[in-house]
Amino acid sequence: MKARAFDYMRPKCVQEALEAFVRADGDASYIAGGQSLVPALALRLQAPGLLIDIARLDELRGLSVAGGHLRIGATTRHCEILGSDLVREHAPLLARAAPFVAHPAIRNKGTFGGSLALADPASEFPAMALALDAIIEIASVEGSRRVGAGDFFIDLYETALQPGEIITAVYVPLASAKTRTAFDELARRRGDYAIVGAGIDAEMQGGFVERMRIAFLSVGSTPVRVGAVEAALTGRQLTPQAIRQAQDVLGTELDPVGDEHTPPEMRRHLARVLLGRLLGRLEANV
């Protein structure tokens, strides 16, 4: 389990990183926290000739509020998300999900941008970016562009990122007084990738759902929004009957895959249970 030989560089700015990638003719990879890339190198699942280390670029750092959004710099580490008052206040769903991401040692290195770029369907943050309708800011040698989370996750480990592009920041709409969130996941062991997980970001008024976004992780090749379930609940109160109906809709909407531990029907069943539990406590916002 030793990586193939590679070159390493630490550029001084995003522009230099982008140009280095172009010069390497595609035989390069950005490295941020390295928590997913380094194992892949060791297992020789990937073997780029050049690693471009973007972990220390100032342009990619920081958490700040601007223009109705929370800006999360791409190299914000998972532990920073977990410990941030700004996140707790303005993106409470992320704060709820953060403790479920891996273990402390990994959270100390792994980055928000890295998690989204990798787009592991079992990861918490990509699914939450979807539930939060986040906007992803992307830089390339041609300039900068923005992509909504709904258009970003395309297939298994496939995103809207073109080769050589860098996620620079992610913008999350700010929570309001009406915001209600819930997150949970079912994992065999604390810190493992979950068998199934889900986050809900909703606005509720007087017991009625005004808007709701629900995203699941570990149920498909990408993080999955369940629009039909959201539609079934919008404008309604979260009565036991409404929740049961939502669970039934979910049963028809999800088409999960199995793995060596978990057959598809188990995933579907657990997703239903999880949805019921999350909706049951959403209004209380606990």
Binding site: K2, R4, R188, R189, R190, G191, D192, Y193, M266, L270
Partner: protein
Amino acid sequence: MNAFAGSIDRPNSYIGRSVSRPNAKRLLEGRGRYVTDLVLPRMLHAAFVRSPYAHGKIVSIDIEEAKALSGVRAVFTGEDLASICAPWTGTLEHFTNMKSPPQVPLPLEKVMWSGQPVVLIIADSRAVAEDAAELVIVDIEELPALADPVDAMSAAAMSKELADNICFATKLDSGGVEEAFDAADTAVEQSFIFGRHTAVTLEPRAIVADYDPSENRLTAHHATQTPYQFQDVYSRHYGIPEANVRVIAPDIGGSFGMKLHVYHEEMAVVGASILLGRPIKYVADRMESFVSDIHARDHRVTGRLALDRDGRITAMDVDDVTAIGAFSSYPRTSAVEGNQVIRLMGAPYDFSSYRANLSVVFQNKVQTSQYRAVGHPIACAVTECLVDAAARELSLDPFEIRERNLIPDSSYPRTSPTGYQFEKLSHQVCLARLKSMMNYDALRVEQAGLREKGILRGIGIALFVEITNPSPAFYGVGGARISAQDGAILKLTPSGEVHCSISVTEQGQGTETIIGQIVADQLGIDREKVRVMTGDTDTTPHGGATWACRGAGIGGETALQAARKLKANLLAVAGLILQAQPGELDIRADWIVETVTGQQRISLAEVARVAFFRSDTLPPETQAQLSVVHHYAPQGYPFAFTNGAQSCLVEVDAETGFVKILKHWVVEDCGRIINPLLVDEQVRGGVVQGLGAAFFEECLYNEEGQLTNGSLADYLVPMACEMPDIEISHVETPTRDTELGAKGCGEAGTAAASAAAMNAVNDALVGHGAVLTQIPMTPTRILKALGTI
């Protein structure tokens, strides 16, 4: 015998005391020296190309490109090593008609499991060796894989040397079983599946083989629990005189039985070092460990119990089919686990009619063999689950049915229906202790209350018997060159300290700590003044080392007797110096004292100084014996059996199938306890491995015989967050076969934890129509049993 009577208050009374490990600080500071840390001049590195198929015929191997890569020093295939290494066969003579195909380091014609090493690459670094491995082209014609053990039993033989795929089959029958079942008022029957799991030691397997052709001398720095066994193996299979083979086992990061078997990789690396005359390092990486370390368990058992109207067991009948991979492991074989399964069934209980059928079967998977608690968890789970099933049938409380059936403490010595001789066990005391310790009645009340709120809690109990302190009846009688005796050398230093080198070994469990305690205790000196050294065949006497729970019982007795011998020698010298009768002197707190008054006469350091440097002042003819060598082989009972009782409390989420393990209790009796802290650690670690088997750990294979979860992301090792508090209590029934009275404790936790967990889950699910008889009890299996999915 048991003349030993340690009073805890006298100075240097270390036996029975919780003292910390002298080596803990060094290891915590990162100053451990593991095989991986070793760098030798001119050292090369090994990597293997492995079979991607579970079964196949080798058509061709193209190594040219790999050989040409810069930094590659050699590439070896089957023939290269087979020509210098005598094949090995994993059979024991006392397992009648046992068979196994012969093994060579790298295969010559066929691959027998997915992950089998096929080509060995030697290069300047491991990374370059792995680069070269990618360039080797192995053309294998895939053959149908025998993955399922039951299919393998009737399928055509997969090894050309054998007529079928049965490695070993045996029956036990005490008679009267059919009659007992005919006459039974109640009979219960269940079929069980015990998944494969593996050791997952923190430190993987590792070796640096260093052959010096100028002296025909091999030094193997080897992460193993049994250096003497490997000295013998390397000597005989590579034709090097035994005295020229030195095996050094430095710091070892866990073993659990896994590091005492002969592996193809280590044998190949030794061969490569001989061929190249250079030191070669091989460290298994985690992916390799999963496909090449021995696995354990993999049993399918059907068991039946017959009971009379009072809930007394009258007979037991079991059938065990166990699959062991393509070869029986060497030199301990892969039949020992099955043999212990059928012999430990029903062990705590008082009945006489027993019948068992064992089939040990080959299949195209990596070998299974001895791993912590060999056979015990299976025998225990089958027995204890059947006892609980009978209790449910008869509406008896699980404690009640056990109290009615266990062998009374007053009735020893006893022989079990399977032929084991029990010197003295303490089931009644242990069971009663367990019940009060866990506050059983209150737990049942709480359980009933929660059940009304829809919360499913379950309480499971399991009694166990553990085999420890094995005599030559274990391996020696079967022709294996595995010692049941141990040896120790005690040397006095001129400053009055004591150096002990002993043949039992340390893998993290604290062997060196307890040996130091015993030596200091028996000599009457400060523990800090005893230095213990293990794991080097050149500097320690030949012995059995560490396996099957023998370090404390046999190694400890060796140390005790050696220390008494040295003490007698030291008192003799002191008597000459003091012109006193040695019989009236004693050693306490590093001083020679008058036994009766305790008055200090002369320090041990002074005795040493005189004996080493001023022998001219001693009477003529005096030859002070300041070092002793002592060997001890167990005598009396062939094994020292121990016993205990465990309980597990769980909460089952019937909607998700997830189980929360809330608490675990253990009462165990390992005879004389040398260090309660270390015994508790052994028990806790053992319980965690048992709970791992019960809920998490399983090597999953597909129908093609491919391991599908061979990484730490997918193979679930139990972690601290999922583990409960484990409360432990001790009962001490020393064996009278030794002065020390110690028995083993290393496997006690593992022996019964999974059984208690199974009973707990099934207790929680009472009334839900689900009974789990397969481990691990995964959420999926629980929901399937409940009919939810």
